[in-house]
């Protein structure tokens, strides 16, 4: 099941996926990567190394917020949370993603 999704496309949409994942609840990095894999039924295998720069990027944009707290197994972990600004951004990003998908579909359908 590996490498079905070209990683380039994934990288462009990683921010979107992270934001979407965080709408449910605050989560740590590993949790986010697991959740994305699960939700995509393992189609999307997040390149774990690139997840953290994405998180850092989003935090600098103030779309997400972070704090250290104890994890389920009582370890110290950094949890990320969606901010109000991030929620608004998610709406806009989703919208543009959908337009993108439709456009690509159209092209594929006509040829």
């Amino acid at each position: 099941m590996k490498d079905l999704a070209p990683s380039d496309v994934l990288r462009g949409t990683l921010d979107l996926l992270v934001l979407k994942t965080l709408t449910l609840e605050p989560m740590h990095g590993w949790g986010i990567s697991q959740r994305i894999q699960q939700m995509s039924r393992s189609v999307l295998d997040v390149n774990q190394g690139s997840l953290y720069p994405a998180l850092q990027r989003l935090e600098l944009k103030e779309w997400i917020d972070s704090e250290w707290r104890a994890s389920d197994n009582n370890r110290r972990a950094k949890y990320y949370r969606l901010t109000a600004k991030g929620r608004r951004a998610l709406g806009a990003e989703t919208e543009s993603w959908r337009r993108y998908v439709v456009a690509v579909e159209d092209i594929l359908a006509t040829t």
Binding site: G29, Q48, Y52, P53, R57, L60, S71
Partner: protein, 884 residues
């Protein structure tokens, strides 16, 4: 926004904390992943390895996290700066030399710029000063340009010219009053102003009030305004001074009504007290009120009125006055000048020249520091190769090199700022009196900005060569050849460029200095028409209040001359209204009896008491001088100078002719007989050729302000009678202060002090420039010898003569010098044209100056080349070959 700033700040200032956090976060991730695999049945070791594989490179993740903090370039900069400090510290001898060189260049430039700023850029201490203009009169026929104004014309302008909100007048020549009753009599410099002076300028007094418009006319009041300096020094800054009275020895005491703000410098920075005009009410109708020109006028334009419009409306009134008063105003024109230009006046050119000279010195300093950094870079070539080998980009390495230059320039700039601050103070203290029309040179934001900009530009400039050279090498080179790659083309070529440039600049600067000094030399050799050696001068002004009859004035000076004549060692004493080479304005018309009018003439006239001409060694060319027998009871007599005879009586003997100062003689004209012709003295300045001049005997034309001149017997120092002369004045009038007591040689040399000051300062800059350039030549050749040490050894081993090896280096130095000197001479040919107006009887292309400078720098440069050449020839074939 706030949060992301906090993140960035944390990344900057708590770097370790951030790194630990990232590390923890990634480790947590890996452990969670490993747990997953363990649950699937893997061993712990396998699970951890698998987790790492799934994650990819942790180091890459860390590094990309660092890049993502948005503080990367700043962090790099901090790192670069730290690294630069370390490498400079390792090479501290060189770094110190660089800092000192820069401090010199930046310091000189900053000092001169502070003066330029104080004079030309700083906001004038007047409200809305853009609307202030100087209004002047002109008369092309008399060569009057930007001339002083007659009071009656001023009042007519004030009433009729629509463009002005207000028009004020003041005197700008020196008037002295003696402050009595506060210890020793104090001599103060006074300026007379109209009542609206401060309101037109828009200046609020520091204390008290300004004058009232009614103070133009004598109304029994005697208000006075003190300068900030006099208030501080003579009245100890007492705020209760307002309303107090002070005595200038007159009938009425003067009441202090105000204190000027600090830095107020109109008409001059040295003005001590401002007094109102206090004219008799009858003046307005009198002829002299329109005929005598002696006031400066400043006007405030109405809002929105342009200079052109103001000038047009002034011209309308000027025309009216020309038709209304044909006797006085026929050729009388007028014009306006913005107040800033007026105040800056002729200081602008010298300041700009000095700034340019300092700037050239700074460029030389930059070239020198550039060379130092090249040497420094050579010592580091291994480091650089290593960095290339480890994957550093050229840009990154160049940036590191530039950072190093900027760090050096920042330190040098800071030191230079301190030097500049002191230099500015020195400039103000050493300037010939009154050259800079300011009371203080302040260091304000403009000076700060200028220095910072200058420092940064210098850093980039001298950092350019090392940065280019450093990035030109390939990684392999240095590692292969034991760290010697920069010895190749780049380093030497850039070193040569820099040395040629600095030699050229030094030549240019020295030629400038040489021209100015030669001009000063010419000036000081000008025969002034008198002999300044062995003469003491004492300037006095006796107050009209106590010397209210002309007879008293005549008697006072006659007695004083007699007393001084009796002092030991004195040969001859006389007095004159103004000393030669210091004369300002006062000029008259001239008409000759029985001849057609000469038209507008502009004749100087002075009064002399005693045998002035013999005392000053001015030759009597024809006729006789004055004697005690020429009194108010005998027919008026005059002497004329040689220049007057040449202009008006070129082919005849004027002795016996009668003249008058009226342009169109009438029945009231006073006719004076020419009894003799004397040699011409230089009058207004040493540089100006003598103008036609007429002398009248003091007994017939008494003046209260006179300067006593005492010629000493041969070999006697004039200053030996300074104290007895003071005593003689005190015995005659204990309330009288002497305005100035100095040898005539000092008066003469002070008349050339501006030329001397500018020449000397540029010369100091040039000397520093030569020193730096010579050090540059020496440095490059020494470096050359060191890098080619082996080659020298081999040459010697193969049988070359030591003299041949020496010649090799000397020839190299000579080439650099020839290129540098030639380019310097060529550029100077054009650049020195800016000096043209400052030079006296020296052309900017003066061949002698160019030749001497080229020779001087050539010879000094060859000495600098000789030392490394000698060293090269001592290379020992055996040891050099073994050393590697």
């Amino acid at each position: 926004m706030l949060r992301s700033i906090r993140l960035r700040l944390r990344a900057l200032f708590n770097r370790a904390g951030v790194e630990t956090d990232v590390n923890d976060e990634l480790r947590f991730h890996l452990e969670q992943q490993a747990q997953l695999y363990i649950r699937d049945g893997m061993t712990r070791v396998d699970a951890e390895r698998r987790a790492r594989l799934a994650f990819g490179s942790v180091d890459n993740a860390m590094e990309s996290h660092r890049d993502g903090r948005g503080t990367r370039s700043l962090e790099d900069t901090v790192g670069d700066v730290r690294y630069a400090m370390r490498t400079l510290w390792r090479d501290r001898g060189l770094a110190i030399a660089g800092v000192l060189t820069l401090a010199l260049g930046v310091g000189a430039t900053t000092a001169v710029f502070s003066a330029v700023n104080a004079v030309m850029l700083r906001e004038l201490p007047f409200r809305d000063s853009g609307r202030l203009v100087q209004v002047w009169e002109e008369n092309p026929e008399r060569n009057w340009y930007k001339n002083v104004v007659a009071p009656a014309n001023y009042y007519d302008w004030r009433e009729r010219v629509q463009a002005f909100d207000g028009l004020a007048a003041y005197t700008d020549y020196l008037t002295n009053v003696t402050l009595l009753g506060r210890g020793e009599p104090q001599l103060l410099t006074a300026a007379y102003t109209t009542g609206n002076f401060l309101s037109v300028l828009g200046v609020t007094p520091r204390l008290g009030r300004g004058f009232e418009p009614a103070d133009d006319w004598d109304n029994g009041q005697r208000p006075a305004i003190l300068s900030h300096r006099v208030w501080q020094n003579q009245f100890r800054g007492d705020t209760a001074v307002i309303g107090k009275t002070m005595s200038f020895g007159g009938r009425l005491p003067w009441q202090i009504v105000g204190v000027m703000p600090e830095g107020f410098a109109l008409p001059t920075p040295g003005t001590d007290v401002w007094l109102p005009m206090l004219w008799p009410q009858t003046n307005r109708a009198e002829l002299w009120f329109r005929r005598a020109h002696w006031m400066r006028v400043v006007g405030r334009l109405k809002h929105g009125v342009s200079h052109e419009a103001a000038n047009a409306s002034l011209q309308t009134v000027v025309m009216q006055l020309q038709t209304e008063y044909p006797a006085t105003n026929t050729r009388m024109g007028a014009g306006i000048t913005p107040i800033r230009d007026w105040i800056v006046g002729d200081t602008k050119k010298p300041l700009v020249i000095l700034l340019a000279a300092a700037g050239i010195l700074l460029l030389i300093a930059c070239a020198n520091v550039g060379n130092l950094l090249l040497v420094h870079a050579l010592g580091r070539s291994r480091d650089v190769s290593l960095r290339f080998a480890l994957g550093a980009t050229r840009g990154r390495v160049a940036r590191q090199a530039l950072t190093e230059s900027l760090v050096l320039s920042a330190i040098g700039g800071a030191a230079g700022f301190a030097v500049g601050w002191m230099g500015a103070r020195g400039l103000l203290a050493m300037q010939p009196s009154g050259m800079l029309p300011v009371t203080d040179i302040q260091v304000d934001y403009r000076v700060w900005l200028f220095t910072i900009l200058l420092t940064t530009l210098s850093g980039l400039l001298f950092g350019l060569a090392p940065a280019i050279v450093v990035t030109r090498q390939s990684p392999a080179d240095a590692l292969n050849s034991g760290g010697r790659t920069f010895t190749g083309g780049g380093m030497r070529r850039w070193g040569r460029y820099l040395v040629v440039a600095e030699v050229g600049l030094a030549v240019m600067l020295t030629i400038g200095a040489g021209l100015l000094l030669r001009s000063y030399d010419r000036l000081s050799r000008v025969a002034p028409g008198f002999d300044p050696q062995g003469v003491l001068t004492a300037t006095l002004a006796i107050p009209p209040s106590r010397y209210d009859s002309l007879n008293k004035v005549v008697v006072f000076y006659r007695s004083l001359i007699a007393r001084v004549q009796a002092l030991p060692g004195v040969e001859r004493v006389a007095a004159v209204r103004q000393l030669p080479v210091t004369i300002s304005s006062w000029s008259s018309n001239l008409a000759v009896e029985g001849r057609p009018p000469l038209g507008q003439t502009d004749i100087l006239h002075r009064e002399v008491a005693g045998d002035y001409f013999r005392a000053m060694r001015v030759p009597l060319l024809n006729g006789r001088t004055f004697s005690d027998a020429d009194t108010r009871e005998t027919p008026p007599v005059v002497l004329v100078n040689d220049a007057l005879v040449k202009q008006f009586f070129p082919k005849e003997n004027p002795v016996g002719l009668r003249i008058t100062f009226d342009r169109v003689p009438d029945s009231t004209s006073m006719w004076r007989t020419i009894v003799g012709v004397v040699g011409s003295e230089r009058q207004g300045s040493v540089a100006m050729p003598p103008r036609p001049e007429i002398f009248a005997p003091h007994q017939q034309d008494p003046s209260r302000g006179m300067t006593v001149v005492a010629r000493m017997l041969p070999g006697r120092d004039p200053m030996t009678i300074a104290a007895p002369l003071r005593g003689a004045v005190r015995e005659l009038d204990s309330l009288l202060a002497i305005i100035a007591l100095r040898p005539m040689t000092e008066v003469h040399s002070r008349a050339m002090s501006r030329e001397r000051f500018i020449g000397a300062l540029v010369f100091v800059f040039a000397a520093a420039g030569i020193a730096l350039a010579v050090v540059g030549v020496f440095g490059v050749l020494a470096q050359l010898v060191q890098t080619r040490w082996r080659e020298m050894g081999i040459r010697l081993a193969l049988g070359a003569q030591r003299s041949q090896v020496r010649w090799l280096i000397v020839r190299h130095g000579a080439t650099l010098l020839v290129f540098g000197i030639t380019s310097g001479l060529l550029v100077a040919l054009g650049a020195t044209q800016v000096l043209a107006t400052l030079l006296y009887e020296v052309r900017p292309t003066d061949a002698l100056t160019y030749g001497v400078v080229a020779l001087l720098i050539g010879v000094v440069g060859m000495f600098a080349a000789w030392v490394p050449a000698l060293r090269a020839s001592t290379a020992n074939p055996a040891t050099t070959l073994r050393s590697d």
